[in-house]
């Protein structure tokens, strides 16, 4: 729906207030990363000290490293699995197709907490101590269905004869997939991957139950520190993560726009 009507001043003010509400805590986290005081209470003066000292905070650095490893690995895995599954579901007709499609919605609709304790029970009953692998497996499970659905919606409108044309011109199934199918569904795959990355970066609940002592990620570190008081190191690191996210999101949005413009008919 688009209208050329100008927004009323009331609407503009209202939208600004909601955005301020959404961004206020983020701004506060960033602001206090430059605060000279060790307590996050009053702003005493400007400093970059925390951006230096955070690197020697080993607990924090481990959490940072784990956050990145888990996010990237789970995104990669869920994108590969999800894309293959989406293409397969689109291409073939078989008995269990309905069941598989339906079960993909389970991780989307069940409360995270239920899924989290389910994973905890699974790994504990197998006698597995939580580690970074259990964390990655859990992240893949809840993000993969989103990849499948995103990619499927992209494939749905496709003309099958384009793939047939590739076969006809001498490409075998694998070559067809890599030279034709994949490039065509790339915008969908990218959106799916971005969604998976977001879900992984934003998760707290599932990670809380499936991360081991030595595989803590940043949000869990914050949760365990909050009662004792958090050092501005955390603000500094969070600020870096926020900046990274903003850059990544802007970058991928631009790439996607370009891809979509390229094959706009």
């Amino acid at each position: 729906m688009s209208s050329k009507k100008r927004q009323s001043p009331f609407a503009v003010v209202y939208a600004c207030l909601v955005y301020i509400f959404l961004y206020l805590p983020i701004a506060v986290v960033i602001a206090f990363s430059f605060n000279t005081s060790k307590m996050n209470i009053v702003f005493e003066g400007f400093t970059f000290d925390w951006y230096v000292s955070m690197w020697s905070n080993t607990l924090l650095m481990d959490a940072f490293k784990n956050t990145i490893i888990v996010a990237l690995t789970s995104t990669l895995l869920s994108t590969i699995l999800g894309t293959l599954c989406a293409v397969g579901l689109n291409r073939f007709e078989f008995k269990l197709k309905g069941l598989i499609s339906a079960s993909l919605y389970i991780p989307i609709v069940i409360p995270e907490l239920v899924f989290a304790i389910a994973m905890l029970i699974l790994f504990s009953s197998l006698g597995i101590t939580m580690n970074i692998a259990t964390l990655i497996i859990s992240h893949v499970t809840f993000s993969m269905p989103f990849v499948v659905i995103t990619v499927r919606s992209r494939i749905a409108g496709f003309d099958r004869s384009i793939e047939e044309a590739a076969r006809d011109l001498g490409a075998n199934e694998f070559r067809t997939f890599f030279r034709v199918t994949l490039p065509m569904i790339m915008p969908g795959v990218l959106s799916g991957a971005m969604l998976a990355l977001t879900l992984s970066l934003d998760d707290v609940v599932v990670s809380f139950f499936t991360a081991g002592v030595d595989s803590q990620i940043l949000p869990l570190r914050i949760l365990s520190m909050v009662k004792k008081g958090i050092s501005p190191d955390v603000n500094a690191l969070s600020t870096l993560l926020i900046i990274g996210s903003v850059l990544l999101l802007t970058g991928t949005t631009l790439i996607q726009r370009k891809l979509e413009r390229d094959d706009a008919v």
């Binding site: 688009s2 927004q7 939208a15 959404l22 304790i117 499970t141 970066l201 809380f208």
Partner: protein, 284 residues
């Protein structure tokens, strides 16, 4: 024959891994949750293989019913506030000019990219008794002593609304965006005024979005235990925290599993209601 064999391999290679993954890491774990809820607790964590419905019996005790009541009250309030705040907001974004709209949507999505723990931590900083709000109020001379803002039920509600608002707004935004402008023109053409147009055309047509947004707010709000931990200091017990405790400190797995089943049941009922008005794909 050779041909048939080769092409029938492809579905297995493409869908097989995902199917196997879903069985191992989704179906089996969920089956375990159901199974364990019918077993006997073992005080050291884990369970004894003795069938029992103790956990379910305990669920109906007043103590637990109180937890349910406060949890559903919180979830309900959160959803209502998110809807009341979010609908006009979604409407404004959807009606903004094509030039600023992508930017506004991006701004709405951006918080998703920043872990909610970091954002809630920001609120924690703001609301502390020695935090920004109290400092500002004291220095303005409005109050003499810091107010108890953090670690209250209100703070938990604020955190919930904050965390879930984008989840309410997005489906509503999508459904408003999907509205056919010619329908609105038809409504105006047929003499509907602004208010009537909204009540009789726009609102009914965007109901699927409203329902999707409500479900995406209501269900997660039951499980976000860390918001209560960060903002409420575990003063009031909510179902999410209760489940967490069964696995982390109380070591009563059957109880935790039974509570999880309650969450699943609530979800199923809501989904069932939802599928009457919208499709599952709108939830994504």
């Amino acid at each position: 024959m050779r041909n048939r064999l080769r092409s029938s391999m492809a579905p297995i290679t493409m869908i097989g891994p995902t199917t196997l993954w879903l069985i191992l890491f989704l179906m089996i774990p969920l089956a375990l949750v159901i199974g364990i809820s019918f077993l006997t607790r073992n005080g050291f964590g884990g369970v004894l293989m003795i069938p029992s419905i103790d956990a379910y019996k305990e669920l109906v005790s007043t103590e637990y019913l109180k937890v349910f009541a406060s949890s559903f009250q919180l979830a309900f309030l959160t959803t209502i506030i998110c809807l009341v705040v979010g609908y006009p907001f979604a409407y404004i974004i959807a009606n903004s000019s094509e030039r600023v709209k992508p930017f506004l949507v991006l701004l709405l999505m951006l918080p998703f990219w920043i872990n909610s723990m970091i954002r809630i931590y920001g609120w924690n900083t703001i609301l502390r008794s020695s935090g920004m709000v109290n400092n500002a109020l004291i220095s303005l001379g409005i109050i003499k002593f810091p107010l108890e803002l953090l670690y209250t039920d209100g703070a938990v509600l604020l955190g919930m609304v904050y965390d879930l608002l984008p989840f309410t707004v997005l489906p509503i935004y999508t459904s408003i965006e999907k509205l056919d402008p010619s329908l609105l023109e038809a409504a105006s053409d047929l003499g509907a005024g602004k208010v009537h147009k909204f009540v009789r055309v726009i609102l009914p047509l965007t109901m699927p979005g409203v329902f999707a947004g409500s479900i995406q707010t209501f269900i997660p709000s039951l499980g976000l235990f860390y918001i209560a931990d960060m903002m409420g200091g575990a003063k009031t017990m909510y179902i999410g925290n209760l489940i967490k405790n069964q696995f982390m400190s109380a070591r009563n797995w059957p109880m935790g599993a039974a509570l999880a089943i309650v969450l699943i049941a609530v979800t199923l009922v809501l989904m069932k209601l939802y599928t009457r008005v919208g499709s599952l794909d709108d939830m994504v």
